[in-house]
Subunit: 164 residues, 2 copies
């Protein structure tokens, strides 16, 4: 457990000064964010969000699959969010490989066929952002009157650039 003890110690410190016990379940700013899992994106920080403000959904690439649609339906239908942001970023790991290569590597390494595992690697950031926004807009279960914005975060200067 190389990190666990440090994390738990940090959590004890956090709990000692914890002052968010009055927050309720629905996000205060009625916002849902879909972003990449990348360690260089501290999403709340670069958007000026505080604990309690927004749903934060993250995965490899900041892509929208069935599971992100599931989270967004729960967010908008049950917890009152009214605006969605999709955030991809420069220097993303998803730009560095192709699905077929990783499938081959995994199949060889683990002796189990990874040929059907889709990784959603991509080679153009702007196009990818637009495609993810489109998938949200096309869901039959996300209200048409909820705006969906798409952005690229630049890991070299911390700036968001609007794509769509």
């Amino acid at each position: 457990m190389p990190q666990l003890d440090h994390l738990l110690e940090a959590n004890r410190g956090y709990a000692e000064t914890f002052d968010r016990s009055s927050l309720s379940m629905p996000p205060k700013k009625q916002l849902a964010i879909v972003a990449c899992m990348d360690a260089r994106l501290t999403v709340e920080e670069f958007l000026g969000l505080r604990t309690g403000d927004a749903h934060i959904i993250r995965n490899a690439g900041g892509v929208v699959t069935e599971d992100e649609i599931r989270s967004l339906i729960i967010s908008t239908e049950l917890l009152g969010t009214r605006e969605i942001l999709v955030i991809n970023h420069t220097d993303c790991g998803m730009l560095t490989f192709r699905d077929a290569d990783l499938q081959k590597k995994l199949s060889a390494k683990y002796g189990s066929d990874a040929g059907r595992v889709r990784f959603h690697a991509f080679d153009d950031l702007s196009i990818n952002v637009k495609e993810q926004v489109k998938k949200i807009r096309e869901s039959p279960f996300i209200s048409r009157d909820i705006p969906v914005h798409g952005f690229i975060f630049d890991v070299k200067n911390g700036r968001l650039q609007k794509v769509v």
Copy 2:
């Protein structure tokens, strides 16, 4: 766009004092976290993590579906993470409904059959955490020597409690 202008203004402030440009792609602490999207969980903060330290994967409930396995494979195989934490939390929205009820509500509201959309609602936090950890451990493409821990975060006091 009720929030967008405020978010972009906050981002301009963030970019002005941005000092993370030297961080590289692989997470410094070789950690991947799977947690709920809930607005009351600022994951980096309650674990004492800094920008650059860990992959953060989040969704409604902190559940593990095909998409979280996808992210975890990319994290561990391509970006060197060596330890995984799954974090659910008290007062989770996923404890407040049943899949069948939300499916019915959506089908009626949007005039499209939502009967096949799985939401992964659950009614026992500890059991749910154990099941998510188990799904990661059973993936044929996540190395057996990577420890997977399961926790519950208490939104009333900020404390993490180990489940498994």
